[in-house]
């Protein structure tokens, strides 16, 4: 039981925050709760504090909309949180699509799909191109380009306000991740993930690798949805500094040798320079 907890504690917390947030939103619409109203695009916390999706606001800006004060405050709060503290934590701790793509990745490992399609035919930098493209289209067409096709919004909005054919979008992402491209949506295409990769680059919370404890079992690299960020495994004691790390902590959980742990950036730096 203790090992089970040890191996899945962060996963449990992540599912708890993901589902918990959606429950609060759902309750706000269905039963009039006032803890957290709206959805992940923009919401109102305790009837006072606005919280807004900075990427959506950026598209609005490019589309030529006037950004209202509430949105500005909401964007500032969210951006500051991920910029200073959480890093790309949105993707693994908040976004509900993560549950879908994690399921696809798990099934992909269990089925051994990678055995037949070893070659990954796409670059992970694609998300930054999609991000740039979304802003160009927003500017050119005067609408928030990604918000009108976003499967992320389809899912969280769908769970709160009614799904419609949103399940089909989820199925598409699931099948895409399962059969076409490993970690396809979250790790290659999603511009929101790209956005938070850039925002979260300098955040304080980092995964730290201790090479002395490492037995090179590579379990961490197997579960990691962004395995390129773990380049230091079995090589150097370094913190994971890439903004593409989602702080999902799966690597920490699967490590049986205590070679990976959460740390605060500054401490990690000091360790490196020996101060």
């Amino acid at each position: 039981m203790a090992t089970l907890w040890n191996n899945y504690r962060y996963l449990f917390f992540r599912r708890f925050t993901q589902i918990g947030l959606l429950t609060l939103y759902f309750g706000a619409n269905a039963w009039g709760w006032t803890i957290l109203m709206g959805n992940l695009s923009s919401s109102l916390f305790l009837n006072i504090v606005p919280l807004s999706d900075p990427y959506a606001a950026l598209q609005m800006l490019f589309a030529g909309a006037v950004i209202a004060t509430d949105i500005l405050i909401g964007v500032l709060i969210i951006t500051m949180f991920y910029l200073l503290i959480g890093g790309r934590a949105f993707c693994s701790w908040v976004c509900p699509v993560n549950i879908v793509t994690d399921a696809a990745a798990l099934l992909r490992r269990k089925l051994g799909v990678d055995e037949v399609s070893k070659r990954q035919p796409a670059s992970r930098n694609m998300r930054y191109w999609v991000l740039a493209l979304s802003l160009i289209i927003s500017f050119a067409m005067g609408v928030t380009a990604f918000e009108f096709i976003s499967p992320i919004s389809m899912l969280h909005r769908g769970i709160i306000f009614g799904l419609g054919f949103g399940w089909a979008a989820m199925l598409i992402i699931f099948l895409f991740d399962l059969f076409v491209l490993k970690n396809g949506w979250c790790g290659h295409v999603c511009p929101l993930g790209g956005f938070y990769s850039l925002v979260g680059k300098f955040s304080l919370i980092r995964v730290q690798h201790t090479v002395e404890n490492c037995t090179a079992c590579m379990k961490c690299k197997t579960v990691c949805p962004e395995r390129q960020v773990l380049h230091m495994i079995d090589k150097e004691s370094l913190p994971v500094l890439s903004g593409e790390c989602t702080n999902c902590a799966r690597c920490i959980e699967v490590c049986d040798d205590d070679a990976l742990s959460f740390s605060i950036r500054k401490l990690a730096k000091n360790k490196k320079t020996g101060e």
């Binding site: 706000a28 619409n29 009039g32 109203m37 709206g38 959805n39 695009s41 923009s42 919401s43 109102l44 606005p50 807004s52 999706d53 959506a56 606001a57 609005m60 589309a63 030529g64 909309a65 006037v66 950004i67 209202a68 509430d70 949105i71 909401g74 191109w129 999609v130 493209l133 979304s134 160009i136 289209i137 927003s138 050119a140 067409m141 005067g142 609408v143 928030t144 380009a145 918000e147 009108f148 096709i149 919004s153 389809m154 909005r157 769908g158 709160i160 306000f161 009614g162 799904l163 419609g164 054919f165 949103g166 089909a168 979008a169």
Partner: protein, 267 residues
């Protein structure tokens, strides 16, 4: 040996250029598909927005699709467009025949909007919220299917109207068919009607004979060429009117000749 090296640099450069071209090409391809799709899904002219909604074109770029207006609506009138509704995804709208807007005096849906896509100032008179000035749409009557136009007495829409006697009035007219009865025809006044849709909800016909359309769809536009000379307010539009000089190329010779020739030349 130098020849071999030269070949290598050329092929590297070519590789680089090709890779750039490929990246740009795929981006352009994706961009056009994406743009075309967005253009298609945002074109939905028959949509009724919540009260205070700014111009549709601006609404589409300003609304963040958070659904706070939907949650604020006590009658569950407002809906967020979901995949399959064939409406701009995630934006709020309502279907009056299902649930109309009951025109709450405190308009709970508008002040909660964080983006200003629902503009409080557009539903405010003298510093107080005033739902009666909202312009969600305009009720339109199909007089073929409206039974009042058949001569059957029905004033369901007139009675349902929250601006009773102002937005819809009943006009009496002689029924020539029977010779002794009157038509009691409903007439909608565009300057008063808010487009709440209570009339559409109340209409007794199988498919509503009075229904709400967005104002831009339901109304025409006169333009600057016609002015009500008897209306001082309307005459003011003349001040903004710009002079347009039209020049038409006319051949004087052929105009004169046409009098001497047969009518055939005219066509």
């Amino acid at each position: 040996m130098p020849d071999k090296m030269k070949n290598k640099t050329v092929s590297d450069r070519r590789k680089f250029i090709l890779r750039m071209a490929r990246g740009a090409g795929i981006t352009a391809l994706g961009g056009f598909v994406w743009s075309a799709y967005v253009d298609e899904v945002t074109a939905s002219p028959l949509l009724l927005r919540p009260p205070g909604a700014i111009k549709e074109e601006d609404f589409l770029k300003t609304c963040i699709k958070c659904g706070l207006c939907v949650e604020a609506c006590p009658y569950d009138t407002l809906l967020l467009a979901k995949p399959g509704d064939n409406k701009p995804l995630g934006t709020p709208y309502f279907i009056p025949r299902d649930i109309p807007c009951y025109m709450c005096p405190d308009i709970p849906c508008v002040p909660v909007c964080p983006t200003g896509a629902l503009d409080e100032s557009s539903v405010t008179t003298n510093g107080e919220l005033d739902i009666n000035v909202s312009e969600m749409g305009l009720a339109v009557i199909d007089d073929e299917s409206c039974i009042a136009f058949w001569g059957i007495q029905c004033d369901a829409c007139y009675r349902a109207c929250p601006l009773l006697g102002e937005a819809i009035s009943i006009v009496y007219e002689k029924n020539e068919r029977t010779g002794k009865h009157a038509f009691m025809k409903p007439v909608v006044h565009a300057d008063i009607c808010t487009g709440c849709g209570l009339c559409e909800k109340a209409c007794v016909t199988e498919k509503a004979a009075i229904f709400v359309l967005p104002k831009e769809v339901a109304m025409g536009k006169v333009g600057d060429f016609y002015i009500k000379g008897w209306d001082k307010e309307d005459e003011k539009r003349l001040e903004d009117a710009k002079e347009i000089k039209t020049v038409t190329e006319i051949s004087k010779k052929s105009a004169i000749d046409s009098l001497n020739s047969g009518l055939g030349d005219l066509y």
